[in-house]
C-alpha cells in the first residue's frame, strides 16, 4: 500500500562501481565473507611460501612420524603418512578453489546460456529447455556424480567436468526468470523497435541486468562444487594424487585417525572446507542483500514508544460549529521517522476534532504526511516511526499512550481502516468471509458462529456483494468488489470512525462513483465518522463536511468544506484548487503547481510551502508560520493570514 516509508537516498556516487562498493562495504556479512575468501585465495596462491614442508615428499619419514600430535615442528601434527598436516592443509585450499571455480564456471556458462536463451526467445524453445531442466532436477546430482566419476577416471579434470556439467539447473532457472523480467522492460522493447539484433540486445541490454544475479548465483554454485568435491574425495572417489581437504579426510577416516586419537587430522581439513564454504555463503548472502535490498522493517516489529516532548497545549479548536459530540480529538500530533540515526519529521503539530457523523477530507499531494497521520491515529506506524508529541483522544482515552491491549480493543471496533489497494490488503490465501469473520470473532466474542455467519452475509450484502461470494478468495473478486469487501470488513465491528485511505485509486470511474456513493450512504445510515484521504478535490467538495489540507507534514488549512472551496486563505489550498477541474467553470485553465513537496528529512527553515509559493516573501523563508485561527473555525498557517 505505497506506504510512504521515508526514503533516505545517499548522494549520487561518482561511478556505479564506487557506489556499489559504498553499499557493499556497509554490509558486514558480505565484507566478512569477502575477507575470508581473499585470505583463502592468498593462502592458495602463496602456498609454497607459507608451508614449512613440501606435502609431496615423504623423504626421511618413518613409522614414528605417523599421527604425531601438534608440536613446534608440526603446528597441526602429522597425518597417516607422517606428513605435516599444516602444509597439506594449505595446499588443499588450491584443489578446493580450483575445483570450485572451474566447475562453477562450467555450470554458470551452461546455465546462463540456457536461461537467457529460454527467457529471451520464449515459445517452444523455452518450453523445451525448461522441461529438460526440470527433468535433470529429478535426478539427484550427487549420486549421479558418484556413479559417473566412479566409472570413469577420478582425475581432477573429470571431477571438475562432471560437477560442472551437472550443476547448472538452478542457474538456468534463475537466469530465465530474470531474463523474462528484463525482456519486457521499456528500453529492451525500444531497442527492439529500432531494429537492434537479438544478439546485440542480449549482450548490451539483457546480460548487464542478468549479470549481478548470475554473480550471486555463481558464488553459491562455487560453494556447492567445493562441497561436492570434498564429498567425492571422502567417498574415495577423488583424485588421490591431488591433495584436497576431502582427500585428507578420506585418508584420516580410512586410516584410523579416530582410533589413534588424531583429532587434528580430522578437524583441520574440515575446518578448511567450512572456512571457504562459509566465506562464499556469507559473501553470496551479503551480495544478494546489496543487490536486492529488502525492506528494512516489517509490520510486526515492535513500534517505538510515544514520547511527549512538550506540555499539552489546549486544543486550538474549542467548541466547534457542530452540536454532535466529539469522537476523535487529535491534539498537536507529531510523528517522526528514525532511520540510521537520521530523524525525519513526517507530521508536525497537527490538531483536529472529528464529530459523530462527520466526514472529513484529508487532502494534499503525495508525501505530505497524510498516510503517516492516519496510521499514527491507530498507532500502526512502521518500526521506524514514532509519535514524538501529541495526543489522540478517542472516547477520552489517549491512543498515543495506550497499551497494546487497549490498542487491540480500539482497533477495528473503534477505528477501522479501508486500505487503498484492497488486492494487497486482503490475504490472498484466505477467503474473504473468513477474513471478515476473524475481526468479528476477535471483537464481538459473544456472537455465536451462526450469528457471525449471518453478520458476514449482511455486511457483504450491505456493500452489494451477494452471499455466494463469501467463501471466495480475493483473486476471484473484481477490483471494485475487493474494495467493497474491504469496506464491509471495515464495518464489521461497528466502528465509530472509519478511515478511508484513497479507497478509489486504481479503480475505473464508474466503480469509483459506486464506492463513494456507498460510503456516503453508509455514513448516513450508520452514523459513522469518516476520515477520507484523497487527491480528488471534487469528491471532497461533494461529500465532505470539513477539509484538512496538509503540506509538508503540517496543517496548511483546516475548515469546513464551503470555506475551503469558496474562501481558501492558504496559498497552497488556492493552488490546489487551480489545478482541479471545475465543472461549473469549464473555461478555467488548469494550472499545476511547479516543483515538489519538500523532503521530510530536509525541511525548509521557514514556511514549508515557501519555495513553491507564488506569494512568498522574506519572512516566509526564515520563520515558520503558526496556525492562525480565523473566524468560523477556520485554521490556516500562513504569514499572510496574520496581516
Amino acid at each position: 500500500m505505497a506506504f510512504q516509508t521515508v526514503e533516505i537516498k545517499p548522494a549520487v556516487p561518482s561511478s556505479p562501481l564506487l557506489g556499489f562498493w559504498r553499499i557493499f562495504s556497509k554490509n558486514r556479512m558480505a565484507v566478512v565473507g569477502l575477507v575470508m575468501l581473499v585470505v583463502s585465495i592468498v593462502v592458495a596462491v602463496f602456498a609454497p611460501l607459507i608451508t614449512p614442508y613440501d606435502p609431496q615428499t615423504s623423504a626421511g619419514l618413518t613409522s614414528g612420524d605417523i599421527y604425531n600430535p601438534p608440536s613446534a615442528e608440526h603446528w597441526l601434527g602429522t597425518d597417516d603418512a607422517g606428513k605435516d598436516v599444516f602444509s597439506s592443509f594449505i595446499y588443499g585450499s588450491r584443489v578446493s578453489l580450483i575445483v570450485g571455480f572451474f566447475a562453477a564456471f562450467i555450470s554458470i556458462v551452461i546455465g546462463g546460456v540456457i536461461g537467457i536463451v529460454a527467457g529471451y526467445y520464449g515459445g517452444r524453445l523455452e518450453n523445451l529447455l525448461m522441461r529438460f531442466t526440470d527433468l535433470l532436477l529429478v535426478i539427484p546430482d550427487l549420486p549421479l556424480i558418484v556413479v559417473i566419476v566412479a566409472l570413469t577416471k577420478p582425475s581432477l579434470f573429470n571431477i571438475i567436468f562432471v560437477i560442472g556439467i551437472l550443476g547448472w539447473t538452478t542457474t538456468a532457472r534463475i537466469v530465465r526468470s530474470q531474463t523474462l523480467a528484463v525482456k519486457s522492460r521499456k528500453f529492451v522493447l525500444r531497442a527492439r523497435a529500432i531494429g537492434a539484433g537479438n544478439r546485440h540486445i542480449i549482450i548490451h541490454h539483457v546480460l548487464p541486468l542478468v549479470l549481478p544475479l548470475l554473480v550471486v548465483n555463481a558464488i553459491l554454485v562455487i560453494s556447492l562444487a567445493i562441497l561436492n568435491e570434498s564429498t567425492l574425495s571422502f567417498l574415495g572417489l577423488g583424485d588421490p594424487t591431488a591433495i584436497s581437504w576431502g582427500q585428507m579426510l578420506n585418508f584420516a577416516f580410512g586410516r584410523g585417525a579416530m582410533s589413534a586419537g588424531a583429532w587434528w587430522a580430522l578437524a583441520t581439513p574440515g575446518f578448511g572446507i567450512v572456512w571457504v564454504v562459509l566465506a562464499l555463503t556469507l559473501l553470496g548472502h551479503g551480495l544478494e542483500q546489496v543487490l536486492n535490498p529488502r525492506l528494512e522493517s516489517h509490520h510486526l516489529m515492535p513500534g517505538r514508544l510515544t514520547v511527549q516532548s512538550e506540555a499539552e497545549v489546549e486544543s486550538t479548536e474549542k467548541a466547534r460549529r457542530r452540536e454532535s459530540p466529539v469522537l476523535l480529538d487529535v491534539r498537536n500530533l507529531s510523528v517522526q521517522f528514525v532511520n540510521n540515526g537520521t530523524v525525519a519529521q513526517a507530521v508536525q503539530d497537527v490538531s483536529f476534532q472529528l464529530h459523530e457523523g462527520e466526514m472529513m477530507g484529508l487532502v494534499g499531494e503525495s508525501g505530505c504526511g497524510k498516510t503517516t497521520l492516519i496510521m499514527a491515529l491507530n498507532r500502526l506506524l512502521p518500526a521506524s516511526g514514532q509519535i514524538s508529541n501529541g495526543h489522540v483522544y478517542f472516547h477520552g482515552k489517549d491512543i498515543a499512550s495506550a497499551s497494546e491491549e487497549e490498542l487491540a480493543d480500539v482497533r477495528w471496533s473503534g477505528i477501522s481502516i479501508v486500505f487503498q489497494g484492497a488486492m494487497n490488503a486482503l490475504n490472498p490465501v484466505r477467503t474473504v468471509g473468513d477474513q471478515i469473520r476473524e475481526a468479528i470473532v476477535k471483537h464481538i466474542p459473544t456472537m455465536t458462529p451462526d450469528q457471525v455467519d449471518k453478520r458476514i452475509v449482511e455486511l457483504l450484502e450491505l456493500v452489494g456483494i451477494t452471499a455466494d461470494h463469501k467463501d471466495h478468495f480475493p483473486h476471484q473478486y473484481s477490483g471494485g468488489m475487493r474494495q467493497r469487501a474491504m469496506i464491509a470488513m471495515a464495518l464489521s465491528c461497528n466502528p465509530q470512525v472509519v478511515i478511508a485511505d484513497e479507497p478509489t485509486t486504481a479503480l475505473d470511474v464508474m466503480i469509483q462513483a459506486q464506492i463513494l456513493e456507498l460510503l456516503d450512504a453508509l455514513r448516513k445510515r450508520l452514523g459513522l465518522a469518516i476520515i477520507f484521504v484523497t487527491h480528488d478535490l471534487g469528491v471532497v467538495a461533494e461529500m465532505c463536511d470539513s477539509v484538512l489540507v496538509m503540506y509538508g507534514g503540517v496543517t496548511a488549512e483546516h475548515a469546513d468544506v464551503d470555506t475551503i472551496y469558496n474562501a481558501p486563505r492558504h496559498p497552497y489550498t488556492q493552488e490546489l484548487l487551480k489545478a482541479f477541474p471545475d465543472l461549473s467553470q469549464p473555461e478555467k485553465r488548469l494550472v499545476s503547481i511547479p516543483g515538489y513537496p519538500p523532503k521530510l528529512d530536509a525541511l525548509p527553515a521557514g514556511c514549508r510551502f515557501a519555495p513553491r509559493c507564488p506569494l512568498a516573501f522574506e519572512r516566509c523563508l526564515v520563520e515558520m508560520p503558526k496556525q492562525y485561527e480565523l473566524p468560523g473555525h477556520h485554521i490556516a498557517s500562513c504569514h499572510l493570514v496574520e496581516s
Binding site: P140, T281, H299, L380, A408
Partner: protein, 342 residues
C-alpha cells in the same frame, strides 16, 4: 484451467519424467565402462565357461539393443535380431510387471534388497527432515519476527554455518564425540534383541538414531531456517499483515493465521526438491554411521557393478522425487488458491 486439468497435466508430466528416468537408467549403466561378471572378484576360480554361465544367468549374453551387442565398448551386432530378445526390451517388460530383476551380487530380488533398506532410510531421513523442518522453520520464524535484533543475526549466522558444514565431516566429528560419550555409533539397532519387548527395541533403535539424526538435522536445518526467515520477512512486509494488525489481532494470531501459511509456500517446494538431495546426504551419513540404508546400497552396488540394484535405486529416488514434487504441487494448490487460476 480448472483443478482437474491442472492435476492431469501434473500427473502426465510426472509419468513422462519417470519414463525418462527409466530409459536413462538403462543406458547410463551400459554406456559407462564395467563388466558386472568380472567386477569385484578377480578370482582364478572364475574360468571362462564360468564367466559365460554368469553372463547367461544375468541375461547379459543378449544384445543390448538391436544392432548393438554392447555399448561400451561399442560392438555392432545383428540388426535383424528379434527386438523382444534384447536386454532393453526385457528390462522394460520386467518393469511393467513390477519386477526389478535380481541383484548380481546377492542373487536376491532387487525389490527385497531395496525394500528393507528403504525403510531404514525413510526412518532416518524422516526423523531428520521432520526435526530439521520443525527446528529450521521455528527458528527462521523467530528470526524474521525479531528481525534486525541480535536474535535474528544469531539465527542467520547459525543457519549459514550449518549450511556450510560438510555432512560427512559433521558426522565424523559427532561420531568421535558420541563414541566417547556412550552413544551407539554403528548400525540401526543392537543385534540380537528381536525377542525383547517392543518398547525396548524401539528405545534401542531410538538410541542408534540419535547421532545420525542430529547430523542430518544440523545440516538441513540451516537451509530451512534461511528460507523460512527470508520468506517470512517478505510476508510480514505485506499489506495484509498491516490489515490484520489494524484489525486488532495479536502478534501470535497474525503469525499463525496470516503469515505462516503464506510463508510456508517456498518451504513446501524446497522440501520436495530436498527429497532428491536427501539421498545424497544419506549416502554420507549412512556410510559414517554404518546405517543399513539406501545410501549404502548405492555405494555397494556401485563397487560390484550391480546394475539391477543401481537401476532400482535410481528409479526409486526418481519416483520419490517426482512424487514429492507432485505432492508439493498439490499442497501448493491447496495452500495457495491462486495457483489453480494460473
Amino acid at each position: 484451467m480448472n483443478r482437474y486439468q491442472f492435476l492431469w497435466k501434473k500427473i502426465a508430466w510426472a509419468l513422462f519424467t519417470i519414463l525418462f528416468v527409466v530409459v536413462l537408467n538403462f543406458f547410463l549403466f551400459r554406456i559407462l565402462p564395467g563388466d558386472p561378471v568380472r567386477s569385484g572378484t578377480r578370482d582364478p576360480r572364475l574360468k571362462k565357461d564360468a564367466q559365460e554361465a554368469l553372463r547367461i544367468r544375468f541375461g547379459l549374453d543378449k544384445p543390448v539393443i538391436p544392432c548393438f551387442e554392447t555399448l561400451n565398448p561399442i560392438k555392432p551386432g545383428d540388426c535383424a535380431v528379434n527386438p523382444f530378445e534384447t536386454q532393453f526390451f526385457l528390462y522394460l517388460r520386467n518393469l511393467t510387471q513390477g519386477e526389478l530383476g535380481y541383484s548380481f551380487h546377492t542373487n536376491r530380488p532387487v525389490a527385497d534388497v531395496l525394500g528393507e533398506r528403504l525403510w531404514n532410510t525413510i526412518l532416518l531421513i524422516g526423523a531428520g527432515q521432520l526435526l530439521s523442518i520443525v527446528i529450521g522453520v521455528l527458528f527462521g520464524m523467530f528470526a524474521a519476527w525479531k528481525a534486525r535484533t541480535s536474535i535474528d543475526y544469531g539465527a542467520l549466522i547459525t543457519g549459514l554455518v550449518a549450511w556450510s558444514l560438510p555432512t560427512f565431516w559433521l558426522g565424523i566429528i559427532l561420531l568421535f564425540w558420541g563414541s566417547n560419550n556412550g552413544f551407539p555409533i554403528g548400525g540401526k539397532a543392537t543385534p540380537g534383541i528381536s525377542s525383547f519387548p517392543f518398547l525396548y527395541q524401539a528405545g534401542d533403535v531410538f538410541k542408534h538414531m540419535i547421532l545420525p539424526t542430529i547430523t542430518y538435522t544440523i545440516v538441513y536445518m540451516g537451509e530451512y531456517l534461511l528460507v523460512m526467515r527470508s520468506s517470512l520477512l517478505d510476508v510480514l512486509a505485506e499489506d495484509y499483515i498491516l490489515t490484520a494488525k489494524a484489525k486488532g489481532l495479536t502478534t501470535f494470531q497474525i503469525l499463525k493465521d496470516h503469515a505462516l501459511k503464506n510463508a510456508m509456500l517456498p518451504i513446501v517446494t524446497i522440501i520436495a526438491i530436498n527429497l532428491g538431495f536427501t539421498v545424497a546426504g544419506a549416502i554420507q551419513i549412512e556410510s559414517v554411521y554404518s546405517w543399513p540404508g539406501l545410501g549404502g546400497a548405492v555405494y555397494e552396488a556401485l563397487e560390484r557393478r550391480d546394475y539391477p540394484v543401481l537401476q532400482g535405486v535410481f528409479l526409486l529416488i526418481a519416483v520419490s522425487v517426482v512424487l514429492a514434487n507432485l505432492i508439493a504441487d498439490l499442497t501448493y494448490s491447496f495452500l495457495d488458491p491462486r495457483v489453480q487460476a494460473d
